[in-house]
Point group: C2
Chain length 556, copies 2
Amino acid sequence: MFGLMQDRPLLISSLIEHAATFHPRTEIVSRTPEGPVRRSNWGEVRQRAKQVANALRQLGIQPGERVATLAWNSDRHLALYFGVSGAGAVLHTVNPRLFPEQLDYIVNHAEDQVLFFDVTFAPLVAKLAPLLKTVKAYVAMTDRATMPTLDVPNLHGWQDLVESQSTDYEWPSLDERTASSLCYTSGTTGNPKGVLYSHRSTMLHTLMELAVDTFGISSEETVMLIVPMFHANAWGTPYAAAMAGTKLVLPGPHLDGASVYALMRDEHVTFSQGVPTVWLMLFQYVDANPALDPRELGLKRVGIGGSAVPRAMLERFERQFGAEVVQGWGMTETSPIGVISKLLPKHFELPAEDLVAIKLKQGRGVWGVDLKLVADDGRVMPWDGSSRGHLYVRGPWIASGYFRNEGGARLDDEGYFPTGDVATIDPDGYLQLVDRAKDVIKSGGEWISSIDLENAAMGHPGVAEAAIIGVPHPKWQERPLLLVVPRAGQEAPTREALLAYLATRVAKWWLPDDVVFVPELPHTATGKLLKTQLREQFKNHPLPSAANGGDSEPTA
Amino acid sequence: MFGLMQDRPLLISSLIEHAATFHPRTEIVSRTPEGPVRRSNWGEVRQRAKQVANALRQLGIQPGERVATLAWNSDRHLALYFGVSGAGAVLHTVNPRLFPEQLDYIVNHAEDQVLFFDVTFAPLVAKLAPLLKTVKAYVAMTDRATMPTLDVPNLHGWQDLVESQSTDYEWPSLDERTASSLCYTSGTTGNPKGVLYSHRSTMLHTLMELAVDTFGISSEETVMLIVPMFHANAWGTPYAAAMAGTKLVLPGPHLDGASVYALMRDEHVTFSQGVPTVWLMLFQYVDANPALDPRELGLKRVGIGGSAVPRAMLERFERQFGAEVVQGWGMTETSPIGVISKLLPKHFELPAEDLVAIKLKQGRGVWGVDLKLVADDGRVMPWDGSSRGHLYVRGPWIASGYFRNEGGARLDDEGYFPTGDVATIDPDGYLQLVDRAKDVIKSGGEWISSIDLENAAMGHPGVAEAAIIGVPHPKWQERPLLLVVPRAGQEAPTREALLAYLATRVAKWWLPDDVVFVPELPHTATGKLLKTQLREQFKNHPLPSAANGGDSEPTA
């Protein structure tokens, strides 16, 4: 027997309708790629979204066809979020930081029909266009005055194509399982793979993003979205902000510390989301301007994901900014909310040191995300805070597979998705990442976490960035090698000083067997360390401990 | 084209699984009908819920069949919430305050198969049982030692029937549209009508209840649930508390001021939900014990719904308790969240007086609830804060009709449900109830709000309760009559003093034409004024203004 409740599909178009109805004059502030700040609001974003839908109709886009963006965070990108998906097409947010050979691969793989792009990317688009087999129209998201001259077929400008359209448009009623957006994972190996979100998965994830125990997006806050809109739908916050009627501040490409700081201050930002790399740039700016007091910002909370939050970052936000850090773990395949680091009431009485230890864990599972740890041999591991296992996840906003079946069937026989991460979970359900399964260092049958070692090394004041990789070892199978980028303007620490520093922070058998100083480290398009390249580069690095066929002590 | 996300139905069983997995030792504190406080936790509630499911199997209950409760708020009622719905049966929460002739009507109408009841209701059950045509088993929710002696067929006790069962039970995977619970609206006229919730509607409503902009149920809080679990699923909070892993405090039948105060203090309650009547009892207790400082409670927020919040109540919670009032409007048919009174950032700078005016509105629409105001002639009315119209609502947790099609098709041609309320909506989307459509006083072609007049009268210190009804008038069609219950222990105000008090607070043409002092006022089973009875009783009341065929001034 079915209930007698209204049969309303969960559709992304309902978000912009809600925002424009209840929060029409709540601002959307964009720092444009062209430079100036542009002020819009939810009422206008609805108008633009409807104009986008009419423009797609004019271009002949059919339901389910893909519409690509190469764009920064802005009100226009926001209008595409609602206009493209709302009209029943699929918004494919292309990550412009991908390697060029990956860009044409994914646009062709996705069979994108239209490409919207910011002027920043005009040179890239000129280079890509001859390789793109399906794109039949290009749209520069800029005004008439700043239109680039570009030799691509069927080039339009935002004002002529979009803003000239009627704002009358009735959103179609769709099956809520209809595909809404597409985002490729950058991956450190193999071709990128597309995660194809649905209206339903997006809406359920959006509802959860409003919860106090996750990011708590609400109408009371001003949210600066630093995480890019080409990055797992900017963690879903464009949707959540519409559902809550939140003021959004969108920095465009201006992610340097000075720009971020000024925009935060001018717009009274209370909450901001981004990956650790961006926050490091903000810290560097504050360091270079000692007269600034970051407490003037009034920043209350910072959402950090993408990679583990270093202890120093957490402490600095708390002490210098007066801002709470909300850490999360997720991935493109999890929409991305997986776990969120919120404290429980029983923690409130703990000494500061113990609190930090909990906050540095990636977080606790939220409703909608089932977690499972599986050993190499298939055993399900207990949640005791120390047993390690491959992390599997299940839930209504988690991928079941990849676009066009890349990589084949993914779910295990209980419907769980393998994340490729190794983790522990404690009895309260707090997950702590040990490592990516392929980055963990297998030393004498035990696992050493490269993440833990890197975080420890990053705590040294002379270290700007650190990477740990496993190097083949004749006796122990692998041993850790520490690669260090020294901090600019400071005397570089010595190998011995670094190892002595680490010796007080990690188990003796974890200590790296050697230290190499490098000017920089390679990263993936999403800012993660590109360890495949490092492992290849250093695979023959002579470890002192391997000198006598490996019979030296492993900790040099 | 469909998205490639996991196909997981939204099921109530997932809530108790989440709570027991991530918050197993978070407490559920129940003051039992038998008197003592019983301490349980989410882990145990899952065990009990699974035992309930096994008990239903033993009793031969089939999917979709109705299982009734006549019970106060307790951990056992909570276990039934998850166990009955989780197993695929329908939880029918019967309101024991209904008039006896309504009780057997709804149990027979719902065709309930089992009746779970608290010992408090043993005499009622004894009287009802011979009239109940479908109930084949009765279960007293009490321990062996306190089992009532009762002559009903197939009587079981909680310990023998439920707690003796295995805790092994695998929740069935159901279509998310499956009916989950059933609640009859008390109605002031006609037979009660059943609202049949689904797993899907319940889960979407639960997600919204975690939002900062609604009730913000979270793991950080301790929630005392005073609103009864037989009352629109206790506003959905039992589900929301499981989704968030919240500590719940359940007062059973002990709703007197002293009991509520003591339980709040002892359990460190931070948020509590209830109708205005209960809060008046709490205030009376505080008044009678001037040595108490309610700030000692640490109560942060109070959720109030069911009827409009009087200004005095709002101010008293803020000043004397230091607690924020979160007002909401909804009904059994809306699960019940319709609108919630949260402020917008632009309000924060307003003077206190203007703030109160906004807080006294019922609130702003949340995502998932579309609002529409319709005039008598079918025109859609603007949101200007003054145009009045019949309120229509639409959304995924709003009823489409009633159980067994009572009252026939309900939705208009846009899919909206008529609420029977008259309201205004301002340009920010804040809804203000004018009146129930049938209670509004139609005076000379204009509408006078009985609610506004009652609230104004309630502000007089000599008034304990006030009711306004329309009385037939030869010239004006209807004119308002004020019925007043004087406050105990104070000198009753005079008719003239009351009218003079009101004259400074409402428009002159709204002033009641007469005042009648009464010892008490009749209420419905859910605590609302029973105005049908009052209108009948006072329909021939001689209004002074009607003396000369109505040619006297309407405001006497």
